[in-house]
């Protein structure tokens, strides 16, 4: 362990929502007990408010700036690491030692909430040491698959170039021996042997044929990508007007990869959900409320939200559609309804702050906040609490209840209760919790069980989160007896929690059901539709969240990732399958080597869709290997040794087996339609992504909004950040950023697909065009003594890639679209070619090569045949080299420009202009540099004087050009037509019926878009309370309640003098 002197002091005058940028030891805060509320959504995706506490000693001793200035302590702590759930340290101060824990730490990425001011000591700072940044992973240089492919192809071309040059060099050697050496007219005065001349000829051909290697390809590709990125930035349909955030392509090198995504890894909180909980519906005494209804109880299709003006405490942001329920409660006729809201206002661990007459609730979970706020609006206003009382306002009258006990939430209990003594002396227990646990504990005579259950099912089908509410009257004697047991349990030293749970169990029975609440975890707009679309495009979506299983599962249902026809497997269930596979493999040791040959049998043999829900703990076993390596390393450094242990059955696993296990896991998970990983750390998120990347060789995309997603965003092939939120970490490390999850479908299905198609078309054409261009030299060399004689004029070679052939293909790369955006979205199947990489791979590359070779062959040999032993119209021999060069070059220009015209499926006036322009520029420049004037000025630079005019006035040569172009293009048209007729792709079909589909789309748009139906699903518990332990401990210890009268140190000015 390293020792760190920390003499840096940091004062954080943190207003609400301040985001921290270092790991800080909390010393003191303006809140009582140096409490500090933090929101950790950036770290773990959990949405509830957590509290951190300063050490008691620093809380007492370091309140004033002067004291802080004299603070001098030694802190010994762990090395910087990536564990967000652990911190160990010791503070030595004034000869005393104080243990430091995670509870004392404010980690980078937290948002400090509801705390006016806090003081802290920076422990880890910067991007290297803070825990969240340690989780951030390395910034990787991302490249697309096509990039890699392209590089390999360029290597291939290089190899080809060397081979061809070597072949021609050998040809030259033989030619020179046979012919060249005897040709007196070729005497060059140099005494060089044939082989040496061959060697020189090799380099000559390397230079002549270098245009085969598409150097300009890289530049052009970057230009196209830049343009495509701009189109993403400019897209109005990815612009979020509410927050004025346009989409942003932060890297310009990955666009075409967007058209090849196979796996999406999504964060939940803030990405799929808005992180807003809304009290949507409820059922009271068997009657459901919440649908739009008038005050008279008439159901409506579209109602007016309730007007809360009658209630001066109401939270105006709260929206509720059922006017009838409000009227009902206000009439005070229904005792159950009154009791329902009273319970909501009493049974919770929310803390309240009265700021300028405004009530501000601090809830441990947003669910709870939503419930208390709902009660508040319905007239049951939670006003204040002390250690043992709760004051609420019931309609017009303030009442204070004595709180006898608070039985807090935890994930096993799934419920919380409060025991209150009413002003009239009655003792009553209020309880709220998951339907499953509550129904077990209901009294036999409890009413409305069935009707409430029906309502719960309805709520569950609407993917609302439900809680059951109930009460129980307790006699004084009964309470006394229980209270004693409770006190005993509180004093237990071992297993106190278990003991307490047991005691709680004894009182929470024979409950009377009042009703149930339904809270909506608001999804971002259009999430279910987007997920459905992406699923149709065969993109698999995994949700990785730090949140709890229930919440994640609930969201899975509400965003239609999970459906009822899916069989859901949990991590624990599939362990068996994994270990049996493992055992099988162990029994057949040889299969390891034959693994690839043996087709993997599916894990899930039953028909139907499957979904997998696993937790971080379970994942750890899969990712075990990596973790252990690191630990072993650390242990070695510490000089200790730990016996290697196995995660499972005690049998040591070797590396190979671990890897096989990972492969098994990935195979299994990929069999599932949907995978949800909950309770995972940022590191684990990234590990899951890299597992899929590694073993599936698939293109992955991560999307997230918080600092906890940074690592996976960096790990995935493409990282997408949700911008417009408060945190910028995810956006800063992302490749693409936009404001809403639903834009993902446009990014992938429209921009990604277009980019991919464009890039593939571009590359195919580019390779083709360079081969068609260059290989003419190759054919010519057979007739020019392998002398590196070029077939075209030098100026043409210089300008070919620059002026004559680049613009049309560049425009295709920028503008081409086979079908428009709306059809791309309507037919997600159009996305499949990208995933399979069918538009550009080695096959296409070689097809392009052969196409190029074929065209070069035609371009050389048709003029060759035409030039052989002939003469011009006026008797002058046209078979001179310059005329030949003009004919081949013209044929080439026509061929490549018409070829790109064939490949262009979206003809704008710009394309038209470019194609005609390229041909026009070719003739313009050619006639210029073949003109008399320019030769007179530069006689030795422009030597083709008159070649163009002489050659091109011969109809014979025009006929040669026409034939050459015809033979180059007609077979392509024929093959394309036959291919599209015999094996039409989805794209071809859509294209063919484009007009029809566009009409259909328009008609659909004229109709009212039907609201997305939240699915109808079977029975399942919709309990998903985003809770951790509530604030019960705090409340019962009374620490936070009483505001300490400590005088704050001096006026603000003196504070600022404190040196940093």
């Amino acid at each position: 362990m390293s020792m760190r002197w920390m003499d840096e002091r940091q004062r954080r005058n943190s207003t609400v929502g301040f985001s921290l940028s270092a790991d800080i030891l909390l010393l003191s805060s303006s809140n009582p007990n140096s409490l500090c509320y933090v929101e950790t959504a950036e770290l773990d995706g959990e949405t509830n408010l957590k509290f951190k506490m300063g050490l008691r000693v620093t809380d007492e001793m370091l309140q004033e700036e002067r004291q802080l200035a004299e603070f001098n302590a030694l802190i010994e702590c762990e090395e910087p690491n990536n564990r967000l759930d652990k911190f160990l340290g010791v503070m030595r101060w004034n000869q005393e030692q104080y243990p430091l824990e995670l509870d004392n730490m404010l980690l980078r990425g937290c948002k400090v909430r509801n705390t006016e001011e806090c003081h802290g000591l920076v422990i880890f700072a910067g991007s290297a040491d803070t825990k969240i940044m340690r989780n951030g992973g390395k910034t990787r240089f991302k490249r697309t698959k096509i990039d890699e492919l392209m590089n390999y192809m360029v290597y291939t071309i290089f190899a080809l170039l060397i081979l061809v040059a070597a072949g021609l060099a050998i040809g030259h050697t033989y030619w020179y021996e046979e012919i060249g050496s005897k040709a007196w007219y070729l005497y060059d005065g140099k005494d060089q042997g044939a082989s040496y001349r061959g060697f020189l000829s090799f380099w000559g051909y390397i230079i002549v044929l270098n245009t085969m290697v598409p150097i300009s390809l890289y530049v052009s590709v970057e230009v196209i990508r830049l343009g495509q990125s701009k189109f993403i930035n400019w897209d109005l349909q990815m612009y979020f007007a509410e927050k004025d955030t346009p989409a942003k392509a932060r890297t310009t090198t990955l666009n075409e990869q967007l058209g090849q995504i196979e796996y999406i890894f999504s964060d939940k909180t803030g990405t799929l959900t808005q992180n807003i909980m809304a009290f949507k519906k409820c059922t009271i005494s068997g009657r459901s409320y919440g649908d739009p209804t008038t005050a008279e109880g008439v159901s409506l299709d579209r109602g007016r939200p309730v007007d809360w003006n009658w209630n001066r405490y109401a939270d105006k942001k709260f929206q509720f559609m059922d006017n009838y329920l409000v009227a009902h409660v206000r009439s005070k006729k229904d005792r159950d309804a009154m009791e329902f809201f009273k319970l909501l206002s009493l049974c919770h661990t929310v803390m309240v702050e009265n700021k300028d007459g405004e009530l501000i609730y601090q809830a441990a979970s947003p669910d709870e906040g939503a419930l208390v706020t709902a009660a508040r609006n319905f007239g049951f206003v939670f006003l204040s609490r002390t250690q043992d009382t709760i004051t609420i306002r019931e309609m017009d009258q303030e009442t204070t209840y004595e709180m006898l006990a608070l039985l807090d939430f935890n994930s096993d209990r799934k419920r919380m209760s409060i025991i209150l003594k009413f002003p009239d002396g009655r003792i009553r227990l209020y309880c709220k919790g998951a339907d499953t646990v509550i129904y077990e504990r209901l009294a036999a005579n409890s009413r409305h069980k069935e009707t409430t259950q029906t309502a719960l099912d309805v709520f569950a089908n609407e993917t609302l989160r439900t809680l059951c509410l109930c009460y129980k009257d307790i006699s004084a004697e009964e309470y006394e007896a229980w209270s004693r047991k409770h006190k005993d349990a509180q004093l237990t030293l071992t297993n106190r929690d278990a003991a307490l749970d047991q005691v709680y169990e004894q009182i929470e029975n024979n409950l009377m059901l009042i009703g149930a609440t339904a809270i909506e975890d608001k999804l971002q707009d259009g999430v279910p539709e987007t997920i459905a679309k992406l699923a149709k495009a065969d993109i698999k979506i995994w949700v990785l969240t730090g949140d709890k299983k229930e919440t994640a599962e609930n969201i899975g249902y509400s965003c239609s990732l999970l459906t009822d026809d899916m069989q859901i497997h949990y991590g624990e269930d599939v362990n068996e399958k994994l270990s049996s596979r493992q055992a099988n493999r162990r029994n057949e040791p040889q299969t390891v080597h034959q693994r690839k040959k043996k087709p993997a049998e599916p894990f899930f043999t039953q028909p139907g869709k499957n979904a997998l829900i696993i937790t971080g703990g379970w994942l750890n076993e899969i990712l075990y290997e990596k973790k252990k390596k690191r630990r072993r390393l650390r242990l070695r450094r510490l000089g200790r040794r730990s016996p290697p242990s196995s995660p499972q059955d005690g049998q040591p696993m070797n590396d190979l087996e671990k890897e096989m296990r990972q492969i098994d896991f990935v195979d299994m998970a990929c069999e599932c339609e949907a995978v949800i990983c909950c309770r995972v750390t940022p590191k684990q998120k990234a590990n899951v992504v890299s597992l899929v990347k590694k073993y599936k060789k698939a293109v992955t995309l991560s999307i997230g909004d918080g600092a906890n997603d940074v690592n996976m965003i960096k790990t995935a092939d493409i990282g997408v950040g949700i911008s417009g939120q408060e945190g910028m970490q995810a956006v800063m490390s992302s490749d693409y950023a936009f404001a809403q999850f639903r834009y993902l479908q446009r990014l992938l299905l429209v921009h990604g697909r277009w980019s991919y198609i464009r890039m593939c078309k571009f590359l195919r054409y580019f390779f083709f065009k360079n081969f068609a261009f260059t290989l003419v030299h190759f054919w010519y060399s057979f007739f020019s003594g392998y002398s590196s004689q070029v077939a075209y004029e030098d100026w043409f070679i210089t300008l070919y890639n620059l002026c004559y052939s680049s613009l049309p293909v560049l425009l295709v790369g920028l503008l081409d679209q086979d079908v428009n955006d709306r059809l791309s979205l309507k037919f997600p199947k159009l996305y499949l070619p990208g995933q399979q990489g069918t538009l550009f791979n080695y096959k296409n590359f070689f097809i392009s090569l052969f196409h190029g070779i074929f065209v070069s062959l035609i371009i050389f040999f048709i003029p060759y045949g035409a030039f052989l032993q002939t003469m011009g119209q006026d008797g002058e021999a046209p078979s001179d080299y310059q005329s030949f060069a003009v004919v081949t070059a013209s044929s080439l220009i026509f061929t490549v420009n018409l070829q790109i015209s064939l490949d262009t499926s979206y003809w704008t006036f710009v394309n038209c202009f470019a194609v005609l322009g390229s041909i026009a520029i070719y003739f313009g420049i050619m006639f210029d540099i073949h003109s008399a004037g320019i030769h007179v000025i530069f006689p030795s630079v422009f030597t083709f004087t008159g070649a163009a005019s002489n050659a091109l006035r011969q109809p014979y040569l025009w006929l040669t050009i026409i034939l050459t172009v015809g033979i180059s293009l007609l077979p392509v048209i024929c093959i394309q037509f036959l291919h599209k007729t015999i094996w039409p792709s989805v794209g071809d079909k859509v294209q063919r019926n484009r007009k029809k589909y566009e009409m259909e789309l328009e008609e659909e748009e004229k109709k009212k878009p039907s609201a997305f139906q939240r699915g109808r699903r079977s029975r399942r518990s919709a309990y998903a309370f985003s809770h951790s332990r509530g604030y019960a401990d705090l409340i019962s210890s009374g620490r936070s309640i009483r505001r300490r009268p400590t005088a704050r140190g001096g006026p603000q000015d003196s504070i600022r003098e404190v040196p940093h």
């Binding site: 045949g865 002939t870 003469m871 080299y881 006929l959």
Partner: protein, 338 residues
């Protein structure tokens, strides 16, 4: 609404270009276009092919090899490189009228005028009459740049290897030789004669060549190439210009003279002819052949059946493929499903 838009600074422009909605034409290779297109192109190609083929057949060509490899050849004795100033005579006869204008070519085979170094071995500036380069020829001309430290004009391999056989054509009329007038004017490209190659503006021309030497293989200096016509000397000598225009392929013909004058304006009448050859140019060392070619031309130029046949073949293939495509299309026609 207007006010709102002002607040949204980051809102992208709503133009057809930025939103990728440029008006566009999206053509498809549909059967309705491709199949009739192929038929039309096929028919057109067949038409062109027939025209080319028929024209080509109507062109008369007479080719006479005078290399003298065979021992019974009249030029056999001249083919020995040691023989100087050798003259040989080739006799031939024409059965029918050789329609005029008749063009008289010489042809070389296995001769690589398109060899890169050979092609580069000249000095364009010198040839355009720049006197600077008379003194210092370009190094491209090496090894025919200097001869005994004197600059060679015109320098370089191409000029040095200029074809120097000369021909005289006689018609045998009643046993007597009647010379056929050969017209050597305007056999080179107009641009070569007027633009690209120019003599220095020095009179008399020979003064411009002071201090230079003739190319090694030449028997006469450039300014004395045509003793009969003083205007046809120097760099604008027609034979020189024809030679300097490199051939594209190793077997080539170059225009020597035209037969357009006198009794022969209508062509060469049927009869016996005698060709007198001043045999100077050695080709046997590199297995080359020398030929003399008489030909008349049509609108498409000289005789070449390749292009006509190629057009016919491609045109027929187009027709065949259109039928194939029609059959395939009928079989695999898109079912009207979505």
């Amino acid at each position: 609404m207007v006010k709102q838009e002002q607040e949204l600074d980051n809102r992208p422009d709503n133009t057809a270009f930025t939103q990728q909605r440029l008006p566009a034409w999206q053509p498809m290779l549909s059967a309705g276009i491709v199949i009739p297109g192929f038929v039309l192109i096929g028919l057109a190609f067949i038409g062109i092919g027939v025209a080319l083929f028929v024209t080509s057949r109507s062109i008369q060509v007479l080719e006479i090899d005078y290399t003298g490899v065979a021992q019974d050849s009249p030029c056999y004795r001249c083919s020995d490189p040691d023989t100087k100033n050798c003259v040989c005579t080739m006799d031939f006869s024409i059965d029918t009228l050789f329609k005029g204008p008749v063009f008289f070519y010489y042809g070389l085979t296995n001769y690589f005028q398109n060899y890169r170094r050979y092609g580069a071995s000249k000095d364009a500036s010198q040839l355009s009459g720049d006197l600077e380069y008379f003194k210092n020829p370009s190094s491209d001309c090496s090894p025919y740049q200097y001869d005994n430290d004197k600059p060679i004009v015109p320098c370089g391999s191409i000029a040095n290897s200029m074809f120097n056989d000369t021909f005289k054509l006689y018609q045998i009329v009643n046993g007597a030789r009647k010379q056929v007038p050969l017209d050597g004017k305007g056999i080179a490209w107009w641009t070569d004669y007027n633009v690209k190659y120019r003599n220095p503006s020095v009179t008399p021309l020979r003064n411009a060549f002071n201090g230079t030497v003739k190319p090694v293989f030449w028997s006469r200096p450039a300014y004395e190439l045509d003793p009969t016509d003083p205007a046809n000397n120097g760099f604008i000598n027609q034979d020189f210009l024809v030679w300097m225009r490199r051939a594209a392929l190793p077997n080539f013909r170059k225009l020597y003279r035209r037969i357009t004058e006198g009794d022969y304006a209508e062509g060469l009448p049927a009869g016996n002819y005698s060709l007198e050859i001043a045999y100077n140019y050695p080709v046997l060392s590199f297995d080359g052949e020398k030929k003399v070619v008489f030909s008349n031309v049509s609108w498409m130029g000289g005789k070449n059946e390749f292009l006509g046949i190629a057009y016919l073949v491609i045109g027929s293939l187009c027709i065949v493929m259109s039928i194939v495509m029609l059959i395939v299309y009928a079989k695999f026609k898109f079912p009207e499903e979505d």
